[in-house]
Symmetry: C2
Subunit: 421 residues, 2 copies
């Protein structure tokens, strides 16, 4: 032990006094070769390209696991923030390529550059998606970084909707990073190492993991046991993405620097599992507005049948206050303009403080205009005069609104460059 303490003290002095000196020889086995990763050596289907007009993780087919992390900025120096964005850009490209964060052999005298729990895993199709909250631009009336005038007009803090149970420590945030991959360790590793790199500039405010069935094909089910996302737009539908997801430089309710970005809405929706499980099969279907096993609409036979909201052969109709009917009344052009791109995950967080199963839906959606899309829908669902029946079985405890940065076009550019420069 005393050897260790002495060595540590010695190193502390040396590192401070002579940064850059190679200490390996002094330390015996201090030079450590890092593993090369098979997936990184060749481009495979497992590796997604970090660079592009848009960020990944929006129209990328949903991987099986997610970790959404919100950060509070702790510095008041915009230059430090900008430097973090540059560092995160490099790290994100490296992580998505499945490479270790340290390319040189690791010097034993310093903390590992890469924490290492993902060594031996492939990339798991990792995507990292970076976004900014309204408080990044202005907090409690203060123009924190001289960027207030650049705040996108449509970016507000998420309001409290009817029946919301938002908890401060699970809500909002200056920066959000969404990590998605087919392995939960890969998501964790990415967020952990981005957090480590941000020390002194930003710290974690909240974090929420999510997961889909590893073994399922087709539309995944939520924890109410229903298929969730049947009516989601096809990810290949470029017209839809252009019209309803990606922000254009001319969008009045946005900001020109945000062109190629989008707005992200996160809602941590706790499901009252114990209460739901006491509802009858018929009531569960009426509440959702779909058939449980097949996912078909009440008046249809198969999952992808279009609901007509007409009476079926037995005279049964889809309730006006059923979840799918209020979400999307299918009234033509208006409903089409409102449509959002969802990317939801189940969460299963053990028990809550009163012993209930702490599980539900990590709702994530992307849209070009929060007010005319997500909020239009959400206000219908939470209208006190005729709320979504499902609200009786859910509590939304966290989340927020975030502006997803434009993609990083190529090496040398960085996340948020159009904002900072």
């Amino acid at each position: 032990m005393s050897d260790k303490m002495n060595r540590r003290a010695f190193l502390g002095m040396t590192a401070a006094g002579a940064a850059g000196v190679v200490l390996g020889d002094l330390l015996g086995k201090a030079q450590v070769a890092l593993p090369t990763n098979k997936a990184a050596a060749t481009t495979t289907n497992e590796t997604l390209n970090f660079y592009g007009t848009h960020q990944t993780g929006v129209v990328t087919p949903a991987q099986n696991f997610a970790n959404v992390a919100a950060f509070d900025v702790t510095t008041s120096d915009v230059k430090e923030l900008q430097a973090l964005m540059k560092q995160w850009t490099e790290m994100a490209a490296t992580l998505m390529a499945g490479k270790p964060l340290a390319v040189e052999p690791q010097d034993g005298a310093f903390p590992p550059t890469d924490t290492g729990e993902q060594f031996g895993l492939d990339t798991g199709k990792l995507t990292l998606t970076f976004a900014l909250g309204a408080t990044f631009f202005e907090k409690e009336g203060v123009d924190r970084f001289g960027l207030r005038s650049r705040k996108p007009a449509g970016l507000t803090e998420m309001p409290i909707f009817h029946k919301d149970s938002l908890q401060e420590q699970l809500t909002h945030g200056d920066i959000v990073v969404q990590a998605c991959a087919d392995d939960p360790i890969i998501c964790f590793h990415a967020i952990r190492n981005l957090t480590k790199a941000a020390r002194g500039v930003a710290h974690l405010r909240w974090q929420q993991t999510g997961q889909l069935g590893v073994k399922s094909q087709g539309t995944k089910r939520n924890l109410f046991g229903f298929k969730d996302g049947t009516a989601n737009p096809a990810l290949q539908d470029e017209t839809f993405m252009k019209n309803n997801v990606w922000i254009d430089a001319s969008d009045k309710d946005s900001a020109p620097w945000l062109a190629g970005g989008t707005y992200m809405v996160v809602r941590r929706i706790h499901m009252r599992i114990e209460t739901w499980d006491q509802q009858t099969y018929s009531d569960q279907e009426e509440i959702i507005g779909r058939q449980k096993v097949s996912g078909a609409p009440m008046d249809g036979k198969a999952e992808f049948d279009t609901p007509q909201f007409a009476a079926d052969a037995e005279g049964k109709v889809t309730a006006l206050d059923s979840h799918i009917r209020l979400s999307n009344p299918r009234t033509g052009e208006n409903s089409e303009r409102e449509r959002i791109l969802r990317r939801g995950y189940n969460f299963m967080d053990n028990l809550d403080s009163v012993g209930r199963i702490n599980a539900g839906l990590l709702f994530v959606c992307f849209n070009r205009n929060i007010q005319t899309q997500f909020e239009s829908i959400q206000k219908r669902l939470t209208n006190p005069k005729m709320p979504d029946q499902m609200l009786a079985y859910t509590d939304t405890t966290g989340g927020g609104y975030f502006a997803v940065l434009p993609g990083v076009s190529s090496k040398g550019s960085y996340l948020g460059q159009t904002l900072f420069e």
Copy 2:
């Protein structure tokens, strides 16, 4: 809404007044055919057999996900407990076979028998392992179910070891169920439905999910970035299992009814991720006693080299208080007798109440005698005179000691039968 209320009121009356009457015809679409599961139709590698001398989930190769749930018994009627064990036996066999819990078409007028979030998934190699805590036999001096005299001598409540930070709501429990599968939804679904069936007899006390890398081969890494389990006995080593894991009818420190069972130790070990990540590479290796990337011992070249605890070529030795040296000093027969079978999982539970990453190791091990095996090792690791260096980076917040019931030999038998009869 008024239609629904009327129908519900009507059903309440009818069901109460004429239980068993088929209501389907009265209700239109109330008879719901349940999905058949592909995996259930044929026996595949994905399906493990529930029946046998021993329970599954002990020597079964670790699946990628786990959900360990502890229950408090709320009834005082041993007959209700026995009935629950019979019901759980049937459910466990059905769940492990990947079949829905309801075999008949579901009557819409009643809550679903199966909550349904796993429809469309295969079995994911699900195993369910049932065990009892000391409080099942005696709690606060009370012989709750007339079973006090049958308490295995070696089953105590887990004591508080040096530096433990046990939280009451994460520790102990009358019954524990360990669900393991290659899909987290399958684990969740099993625990949820067992919990639902236990209503009025037992309720959840704590629950802890765990996960290993989906994408990795070989020894999995823990969240310190080190391979964890290199020295674990081979699962095929039947001699080891006979000597060190399975309880024999003649074991003095156990109970004859527990023959074929084993003792399970659970420890929820929070890792101080932020602090660990500031330690140097060399110190991390010294603390663990292994090389980080390869997993080799300090004095070896490859992962499975046997540590000699000798000085290496550069004169560097494995610290006496390193984790692997204190865990297993390899002093011959004595060390061999102590050896336990580990089955650990990483956990990643978002942030804790003070904003730290709430992640670590869900340590699970099985052994034939807690006192001479797990506790011998644990007492060495937590000896205040020379504690495991790793203790400075961990906080154990929960877990417990449990007696794993003997296997259910065949259909018609049930979990705990040798105890109750």
